[in-house]
């Protein structure tokens, strides 16, 4: 009956998310990421940080959401939007939440983490961070998640990842020296929004994320955590 369909508009299944082979077994579909958790990203802005429109360095974590339309199977081709010559390839390790985290203390934060996953976050390149830039960051299929691994006490300040484009190593990064290391980030985010089992919280994309053009294969790997490969395609 039409009426009942209306009252229970079904949530669209989040396609392409891999099932973890540990509890919580399922990802929720929430993908949350901090902006500028790499000190080099803020340093690169130089004096602009203190000038309008920013006027000061961010104090609380600045976050963005990759909504469900962005989630695609890890290997699916990524089409360029019309008129966009290249996409920025951001890569980050994400915390896979295992327990509900609401206002957790930094010292307890990592006890709420069940796993780690490699995530790629594709965006239209932009150099203004005043507005949320949703049209540049919420493109269909612009977020891919590699199968998560269990969190068993890995040193989250010692993770390394790299990006190869067209078979060439173009970017290498580590989680050392983040403005907010994993536990501090989770504590500060959970101060105002509760994270639930299966939610993903990225540690943040490193400064200098490379660009990829149509026809180029992109390969991303985080040592001990995962890898994913997909091609960039011309606009449909």
């Amino acid at each position: 009956m039409l009426v009942n369909q209306r009252a229970s508009l079904p949530p669209t299944p989040t396609t392409g998310l891999p099932p973890p082979d540990f509890a919580p077994w399922r990802l929720s579909g929430l993908v949350l990421a901090p902006l500028m958790n790499d000190p080099a990203a803020l340093q690169a802005l130089g004096a602009a940080v203190d000038a309008p429109p920013y006027k000061a360095a961010p104090k609380a974590p600045v976050l963005y959401i990759k909504p469900r339309n962005t989630l695609a199977a890890a290997g699916a081709p990524m089409p360029l939007p019309l008129g966009v010559p290249a996409l920025q390839v951001g890569a980050s390790v994400a915390l896979v939440m295992g327990r509900t985290a609401c206002r957790v203390a930094e010292r307890d934060a990592l006890a709420h983490v069940a796993g780690l996953a490699l995530v790629v976050d594709l965006s239209v390149p932009h150099d203004s961070f005043y507005r949320p830039s949703v049209p540049l960051k919420a493109l269909d299929a612009s977020c891919r998640v590699a199968p998560p691994v269990a969190f068993s006490g890995q040193d989250l300040a010692m993770l390394t990842l790299h990006i190869d484009i067209d078979g060439r190593r173009v970017h290498a990064a580590s989680t050392a020296g983040l403005r907010r290391p994993a536990a501090a980030l989770l504590a500060d985010v959970s101060d105002f929004m509760t994270l639930n089992p299966g939610d993903l919280l990225l540690l943040g994309v490193a400064h200098g994320a490379p660009l990829a053009r149509a026809g180029q294969p992109v390969h991303i790997a985080a040592e001990g955590i995962g890898a994913l490969t997909f091609p960039i395609e011309a606009a449909a």
């Binding site: 209306r6 000061a56 961010p58 949703v134 049209p135 105002f192």
Partner: protein, 257 residues
Amino acid sequence: MKTARVAYGGAIHTAYPHATGLQLADGRVLREEDVVWLPPFEPGTVIALGLNYADHVAELARELHSTAAAEPLVFLKSAGALIGHRGHTRRPSDAAFMHYECELAVVIGRPAKGVKAAGAMQHVAGYTVANDYAVRDYLENWYRPNLRVKNRDGGTALGPWLVDTADVADPHALALSTRVNGTLTQQGSTANMVHRVPQLIEYLSAFMTLEPGDVILTGTPEGVVNVNPGDEVVCEIEGIGRLHNTLLPDSLFGITA
């Protein structure tokens, strides 16, 4: 047709308006205060508009860097921010200025990608009322409005009813109002939106596929004032519904100063 989702007697039910309150799909008639009201549909992506009423832009002009509204100001929220009618929202004690925002919420009913404004309304399932709180003390100029301002647990109320598109002749001819403890504090009309619903769907669906259950909160008119713990805030949109919310102090959440 108006429908709600409510929790009652250990289950979640579809409910309909009734002269004495509401009626569950199974026939039981209940009073409004006997059920727990959930957002009236299962929410997908929550898309919100800032500065989408000319009068509200004027109200904030002193702190804005630009009054130009060539492109909609869009931000996203997560499902954890959502609560239903007669819900409770925490009012943090360290903030000087937290305000409500009464907004027309547009619920998508059919997938939309690359849709033009002329055909956009076919993708709308219906409307409900939103109260999208903001804590202005936490504003920072990075991805503004940042999530700490606009994506707090329980900071966005939706409901009570999802009203079918067919029952709303013109979504841009509806009076909006907010009352705090019975005093009228905000008044406006959806006629004054800068970017209208069909244009918003065209704009959004150009870069993202909208799916059933996705919801667009279309912004608020002028008249936002500070609210305090204990205040009851009622947001009303003509023909759509009257959404109640109560602000609670930190102390009830185990937070000590």
